[in-house]
Symmetry: C2
Subunit: 151 residues, 2 copies
DNA sequence: TTTTATCCTACTATTTTAATAGGATTTATA
DNA sequence: TATAAATCCTATTAAAATAGTAGGATAAAA
């Protein structure tokens, strides 16, 4: 249950582009610098965002990226979809998958609900919410219990 | 964002054990057969559940597993925890992680909320809910939009 | 025409996960 | 008391996914 680093970097890149002055595009090298990534690596991430038509730029030397839509019109699901084909927590709930056991599988409903929960969340939050600090989590205790990690 | 197959099989094994007649334990070979897994592979999964003290058995030839608690007292989070150290959708929100950018990271709140959402869901559903069919998902349209997968 | 920046594709390395394998231990039972 | 059935335990291999690097083509501003 890990979000890929590409998606994480992609979201941060979007936040950075969204936060720039409206008239000036943002360069890859600046994003790379502020996020401590090589320009070459960030390149993939930027290209994925561009292919998904979330950002655009002029060609040539004076390029630099801007959003194609207002931050309030870009959901996190849109950004996630630039890097992943969709949200699918287990293969066996995707459309064309056939499972011999699915007839009586008492777990599939649980996974479908989980999938839906995540999808609805991703779809309900926009880039605008993030850049205006409307999505925060104050309670420090959550990480103790739930997000314990390998040493 | 994939649930590991071990966790999936583990959940199904728990459902199978929970669904057995109360007085008779369930054998690995029977679970393996009904889920089309080798006994050797299922072995790992069963051992993880046992280490997590979710199931127990007698030693020797007439073994066979039973739940250590009532299904209503076993949450999906308990089962998940038998296979994973915790729920952690991105490394950078776990307790002892330090991120240079976290000072002004406008994404971390989003990830923490996601983590919490999943944790609360896992914690709110019990094995009893599953074996009595209380967790279902009827709407067929969800998979079209959200869970599209690679061909 | 040189420089800056994106664009595009291929590749390598790393890590994670899935699955197999071999044999030790325990105990019912023939 | 031997043997068969079952779990227990550890090591290893195989496969897949992901992260990250590399090289050069292209476009346009200076």
């Amino acid at each position: 249950m890990k979000i890929s680093t590409r998606t994480r970097y992609g979201l941060r890149a979007m936040i950075e582009i969204a936060g720039a002055k409206p008239d000036s595009g943002v360069f890859q090298k600046d994003i790379a610098a502020s996020q401590s990534l090589s320009v070459k690596y960030l390149d993939h991430i930027i290209q994925a965002l561009k292919t998904a038509r979330l950002i655009s730029n002029a060609k040539g030397k004076k390029s630099g990226y801007i959003l194609t839509r207002k931050p309030s019109e870009i959901t996190i699901f849109d950004i996630h979809r630039a890097f992943e084909p969709g949200i699918c927590v287990v293969e066996c709930i995707s459309g064309n998958y056939h499972c011999d056991l699915s007839e009586g599988c008492q777990a599939s409903g649980f996974w479908k609900q989980l999938n839906n929960l995540i999808y609805n969340y991703f779809n309900s939050i926009t880039l605008d919410d993030l850049i205006h600090g409307r999505v925060t989590f104050e309670d420090e205790s959550f990480s103790e219990e739930a997000s314990r990690q390998k040493a």
